[in-house]
Subunit: 476 residues, 2 copies
Amino acid sequence: MTSSTAPIEEFDLIIIGAGSGNSIPAPELKHLKIAIVDDGRWFGGTCLNAGCIPTKMFVRPADLVRNVREAGRLGVSTAEVSLDWAAVRDRVFGRIDPISQSGEQYRASGEANISLVRETVRFTGMHELTTASGRVLRATQIVIGGGSRPRELEVLPFGETVFSSDDAMRLEHLPERIAVVGGGVVAAEFSAIYSGFGAHVTQLNRSELFRGLDHDIAETFTEVGSRNWQIRAGIEITEAKQTAAGWTLTLSDSSTLEVDAVLVAVGRVPNSDRLATPEVGFDHEEDGRLSVDAYQQVLKNGKPVGGVFALGDISSPHQLKHVANHDARVVARNLLAEARIARGEDAQLTENTLGPVPYTVFSAPEIAVFGMSLPEAQAAGYKAIEVRQDYGGTAWGWALEDEDSFCKLVVERGSGVILGAHIIGPDSPILLQPLLQAASFGQSIRGLARGQYWPHPAATEIIENALLQAEEEIQK
Amino acid sequence: MTSSTAPIEEFDLIIIGAGSGNSIPAPELKHLKIAIVDDGRWFGGTCLNAGCIPTKMFVRPADLVRNVREAGRLGVSTAEVSLDWAAVRDRVFGRIDPISQSGEQYRASGEANISLVRETVRFTGMHELTTASGRVLRATQIVIGGGSRPRELEVLPFGETVFSSDDAMRLEHLPERIAVVGGGVVAAEFSAIYSGFGAHVTQLNRSELFRGLDHDIAETFTEVGSRNWQIRAGIEITEAKQTAAGWTLTLSDSSTLEVDAVLVAVGRVPNSDRLATPEVGFDHEEDGRLSVDAYQQVLKNGKPVGGVFALGDISSPHQLKHVANHDARVVARNLLAEARIARGEDAQLTENTLGPVPYTVFSAPEIAVFGMSLPEAQAAGYKAIEVRQDYGGTAWGWALEDEDSFCKLVVERGSGVILGAHIIGPDSPILLQPLLQAASFGQSIRGLARGQYWPHPAATEIIENALLQAEEEIQK
C-alpha cells in the first residue's frame, strides 16, 4: 500500500493527535525519534482550543450575570447587568491561542528528537502512515490519539449560521435567537452560556435531556434550565429552510421556529474513519471507536497489534479530558514496558483500571455524577440502596435559598461501597470529590461521615448528610 | 450551699445550654428525667441564632454583589447593583427565628420526660444548680454546654452603637461608616458582609490579621480584603469619644477615625464564670475554659468529676460548631456508658479522638485550613515538606482570572500523611474536604492524586496538582 515514489521516513514512535497524546514525550523517551502528527485547525486538541477550558471561561461570567438576575429573592436589586460577547471572546482566546501557538512552536523546533507533522494522515499499513502530501511515515510504535469531531446533522449541515462547538465560542457577534440542538453536556453548557450572555435560546432534543443520567437529575436539569432558556425535548427537526434572517426550522410536532443561527451539538464522531484505521483491519466498536484492550493496545481480530496503542475519544467510551489524560499516562508507561519486553528485559504492561469515572456538566444548573443509578445497580445484580439529600435540608442550602438541588447516593448494602453518586446544583463538580475518593479507594461509607469533620456550615454538609442517611439505610 | 427554703428538684440528667447540647436527648435517653437549661436571648445557641448559619445567609448576597462589581475584568458591565439590608435581614430571621421558636416550644412541651428551664443558673454543688429565681436542680449527670459570649472592649463597652456579633445582623439600619474591631473569623466575615452591602468599613486589629494561621494565608487575606474595605492592622484604639453622629476613635498612631457604629469582634469568653464553675472547684484552663479529659469529663484537681461532662465553646480550644457537635456525640455516648458502668455492666467510655479540625472563614476571600503550617510542623519535630499550588496554574483559575488564591500542603516526608492544608480562595471550604478525608483516615498522599479521577476542569484540579507536587517533593 506504500506509495512507490516517496522515501520512507522511519521513527521510533509516532503520536497521532496533539491533545492528550502531546503529554507523552517525557524525559524517559528522550532516546526515541518521535513524530507528532496533527492536522487540527488549532494545536493542542479539542479541550484546550474548543472544549473544556475555554467554555469554562465563558461559563463563569454567564453564571455571574445569571446569579445576579436571579438574586432578587436574596435581596439584590440591579438596574441592568450585561455581558460583552466580543470582550469575553477576545479575553478567552487572547489567552488560549498564544498557549496553543507556543505549544506548537515548541513541538516544531523545541527538541531535537521530535518532529511535528501538520498534515492529515491515513494508515497505509499497521505501522505506516501516509500524509496528504504523500510523505510516508513508519514507526515501531504508534499512539493513536486522534480524538473526535462534532457530528453533523443531515438536515442542517455545518455552514456559516449552522455551527458546531468548534466555532461556538469564536462567533463574531452573538446571534439574538439561537437554536441549540442536542441533549448532552455540550448543548447544556452552550445553552447556559448563550442565554447568560443575553441570547434567546431554544434547546431542541429528540429525546429527554441527559437520557443516560439518573432520571431525577435529568428531570431537575430540564426544570431548572427552563427558567433561563426554552427547552423542547422529544422533538426533531424535520425541515430547515434558510431565510434572510437565518433559519426556519420545522419541527416534528409541525410547529416552526425562527432563529438566526443553530448550534448543532448532537454528539461527537471518533476520527478513526479519517485515519483509515478500518482499512488496515484494526477492530472497532459499533460507534466507530477503535477497540482497545485493558492495556490500551489496539486490537485486530480481537488480538493486540504489537506497538499500536490508542487513547482518548478515538477509543474510549468516555469522551472526557480527564479520561484521555489518564489513558495517555497508561500508554506512556506501556510504550516503555513494551520496548523493554522486546529487549528481553523483565517488564509488564500496566492495566488501565482507574475508576469510577466522574462526569461533570458546567451548565445552569451544574451536574456531577459517577457510577450507577439505582436501577442500573439493581440490573447489574447489586443489592443496593439509594438515598437523597436536598441542598435545602442543610444550612448552606438555606443561604442559597435553594429548592432544587440534591445529592443522590447509590450504595452497595454489603460492602458499603458507593456505586453511584449523582449531584445536581451549585458546586456539584467539587462536592463530588470526597465521594469519588472513597469509591476509588474502595472505602466503605461505614464511618466515613463520622470519621472526619465537615466544616460547618459549608456546602459539604450536603455530602455528610447524604452519607449519614446511606449509613442508616444499609443498616436496616 | 443549697438555698434552705426551695424544694430540691431531682433529675437524672441536666443539660446546660441548648446549642449542641440540645441534640443529646435521643430515643436512647427516653427513660431519663431530663432538664434542659438555657437563659439565652434566643433558643438554640449561637450558631443558629447569631453565628454560622445566619451569617452565611448574609454572606451569599454580599458575595454576589461583590462578584459583579469586580466582574468588569470578566466582561460584565453593570449599571448599579445594590443590596437591601432590611429585606435580607427580614428574610434571614423570618426563617431562623421560627426554627428557634419551634425548637423551644418542642423542648418546653414536646416530650414528657424533658423539662425546659429558661433561667440563668449557677453551680451550687458539683451536681447541683441554683436558678436566678431560687429553684434548686440536682442530677446524677450534668452536661455543661453553656457556650461562650462576645468579649467586650474596655475602651468601647457594648451599647446602642457599639455592638457584638449577637446584634450585628439584627441592626435596624446599616450604618454608613462602620469600624470592625478584631482580626479573626468574626471580624473578617462581617467586614465582608457590611462592605458587600455598601457600608464603608474599617477593620482595626492590634496585630496582623489571622495571626494563628499560615503567614502567606494571613498576608494574602489582608491584601485581597483591602480591595473591599480598609484594613488597619497593628493598631489599637486608645480612646473612644461619642459624638452626635457616632464615635471618634483615637488610634495608637495618633490618627482618628470617625464612624457611625462599631462592631467589636475581639474573641469570645467561655461562659464558665457565669455558671460559677470555678466556685465549686472544677478545673479551668488559663483562658477560663473548663478542663476536660479525653472523654469530655469535667476535671477537679486533675481527676474526672463523675457524672459531669462538658462540650463546645465552654471547654474546647476550638470555638467551632462542628467541634461542639462532635463533642456532643461523644458526651451522649459516654452518658450511657457511665450509667452502665455504674450498674456494673460491661461498658467503656469513648475517647474524643477525631481530627484534624477544619477551620473555615466565609469572607472575601474565603479561607479553609486544617493542621499545621510548615514552621509548626518543624517545631513539632516532623520532617515535613511544603508545596504551594496557585489557582492560577489550573484551568479553573483561568476561568476565574484569579491571581491571588492558592493551596499549600504540609506533608510528612516519611508517612506521606498531610499534616496541614491551607487554602485561600473561592470555594476553599469545599476544596478542603478531600484533603481532610485523607488526613482523617491516615491515608498517605502517595498515589492519592493518581488513584482517582479529578473531573476536568473543575476547581478540584487545584487539589490534584498540589498533591502531585507534594508527592514529587517527598520523593526527593
